[in-house]
């Protein structure tokens, strides 16, 4: 059974009278346990919207979302989920360890576990030399790193990452990639969104391509390449999106 699932998940943003923006349109996704699943798509295609709906930050206009068979507002489910928002910002006046400790307390972790994990995670994201620094003095990449550490504080079964490598240097990107693969080996499920095709190509078991809120393609990279007669991910990306745009153009063309 799928560990993350959406059924006809739809989100329309209502901006005043008669003005709506489509965030997501009838998306059916299934992420299996133990896989790394990548969501791709141009800017504004609905990736973040989809992740926010799954986590209960937004409420769907229609359709349903489930994580571990539970709805997005289930507190017990959230105990097992880690989340990294896009371009994360944290509490300016806390230090890295304080931030992690605060989040650990929200998961009701024991002090010993918390202490051990903070050390381990700071080591992992290489911020152990910045322990006394307030977060407002962090660089963009350091914030991304502390965010990654924060998303792992509860040793989650499911990790949801919105553009985890934006802002990281090449070494940080590689380290993150290795970390994700390592987590997968531990049996974790990872759902991520990304703009870095080469990275997605290297770590993801399956991918989904979003465009204007629609799910255009879903499957393994090889399967999709065959289906769309594409040579690589970039080719696939361009092909699916332009064919959708052409169809839409044809439709509106028919009407007028």
């Amino acid at each position: 059974m799928a560990i993350i699932e959406t059924r006809d998940l739809t989100k329309h943003y209502f901006l005043g009278k008669k003005k709506t923006v489509i965030g997501l349109e009838k998306v059916n996704l299934q992420v299996n346990q133990g896989e790394i699943f990548g969501i791709l798509g141009p800017n504004g295609s609905g990736k973040t919207t989809c992740l926010k709906l799954l986590l209960g930050i937004l409420f769907p206009t229609a359709g349903e979302a489930y994580i571990m068979g539970k709805n997005p507002h289930d507190i017990n489910m959230k105990q097992h989920v880690g989340f990294l928002p896009e371009n994360p910002y944290y509490y300016d006046y806390l230090t890295g360890p304080e931030l992690l400790r605060f989040y650990a307390s929200l998961f009701s972790l024991e002090t010993q576990t918390t202490n051990a994990r903070i050390e381990q995670l700071l080591e992992l994201v290489e911020l152990h030399n910045a322990k006394k620094l307030h977060l407002r003095h962090y660089s963009k990449g350091m914030l991304e790193r502390i965010g990654l550490a924060a998303s792992l504080i509860n040793d989650p079964e499911i990790l949801i990452l919105d553009e985890p490598t934006t802002g990281l240097d090449p070494i940080g990107c590689r380290d993150t990639r290795n970390l994700l693969l390592q987590l997968k080996q531990q049996g974790k499920t990872i759902l991520l969104s990304s703009h870095f095709l080469s990275e997605v190509e290297r770590v993801c078991d399956r991918i989904a391509i979003f465009h204007r809120g629609n799910l255009l393609a879903l499957g393994t990279l090889d399967g999709l390449n065959k289906q769309y007669q594409a040579t690589n991910l970039e080719d696939l990306f361009v092909k699916t999106i332009s064919s959708f745009d052409n169809q839409e153009a044809a439709k509106t063309g028919d009407v007028t």
Partner: protein, 254 residues
């Protein structure tokens, strides 16, 4: 329940480190301190002056802290998107809202205590230790500040910052004038005007109920009964405000 505290403590810790509210506190202390500069008054008049100015300063600057503290408690979390990291943790939205209220209450309480200690120190310095009436006045001021925090917090769950500030100050001013307003209006014959003001009178919390300083300063006594009922009145309004906050925040998209 415990998570609510954790969020409250974090709010408190952040605002203590941010130090913005200290500016208001310093102003308040200056005003309280300045009240003793009127040395041309007789000793008795001077004491009245100190009490009057100090009560007013504690109330006014406390209200500023309550309003700005509550305003920023929720809106900065949303603006800086730190709220995403909280709502995706195993906490209820109600833990978040009530936690924020507790955090702001702690901030207001600490500042209130600092101002009060300064004021009472001043009274001792003037060889006039505070009596029970002074404490009654302070107690009611504190409950008024709690109510102001609750109302700004509630407004913050469904309005913009700018609108919230305007509304909060509007309520603060109107809430202190309702008694006068009602007296004025009672003389008019116009039913619509009376109906409207009656409605306003019941909807807007009557902050003036919490104001007993005019009586205390001139040496009148206020009964514990009045203090008790007013506190109850404050708690009732506060519960309504928090209920509104929870109701709107439960459905809010961020």
């Amino acid at each position: 329940m415990k998570k609510m505290w954790l969020i409250g403590l974090n709010t408190f810790r952040e605002s203590m480190r941010k130090k913005t509210l200290y500016i208001i506190l310093i102003f308040a202390l200056i005003v309280i301190g300045a009240s003793k500069l009127f040395s041309f008054l007789t000793a008795e008049e001077e004491l009245k002056m100190i009490k009057d100015v100090s009560f007013s300063a504690i109330e006014f600057f406390g209200a500023l802290m309550a309003i700005f503290g509550s305003l920023y408690a929720i809106s900065t979390e949303i603006e800086r998107r730190t709220i995403y990291t909280l709502l995706t943790k195993p906490i209820r939205r109600s833990d978040f809202v009530l936690g924020k209220f507790f955090g702001v209450s702690m901030i207001v309480l600490i500042n209130f205590i600092l101002m009060t200690v300064f004021f009472i120190g001043l009274l001792f310095f003037k060889k006039s230790p505070p009596d029970l009436q002074v404490f009654k006045t302070l107690l009611l001021i504190f409950f008024e500040l709690m109510l102001i925090s609750g109302i700004t917090l509630a407004l913050g769950t469904f309005t913009s910052d700018a609108f919230n500030i305007i509304c909060s100050f509007f309520l603060y001013i109107v809430g202190h004038l309702t008694s006068y307003g009602k007296e004025l209006v009672e003389r008019t014959e116009n039913i619509i005007v009376r109906g409207l003001t009656d409605m306003l009178y019941t909807l807007v919390p009557n902050y003036e109920n919490f104001n007993i300083r005019d009586k205390i300063v001139v040496g009148l006594n206020v009964s514990w009964g009045y203090v008790g009922w007013t506190i109850l009145y404050g708690i009732l309004y506060l519960c309504i405000a928090l209920y509104i906050a929870l109701y709107f925040f439960e459905k809010r998209e961020i």
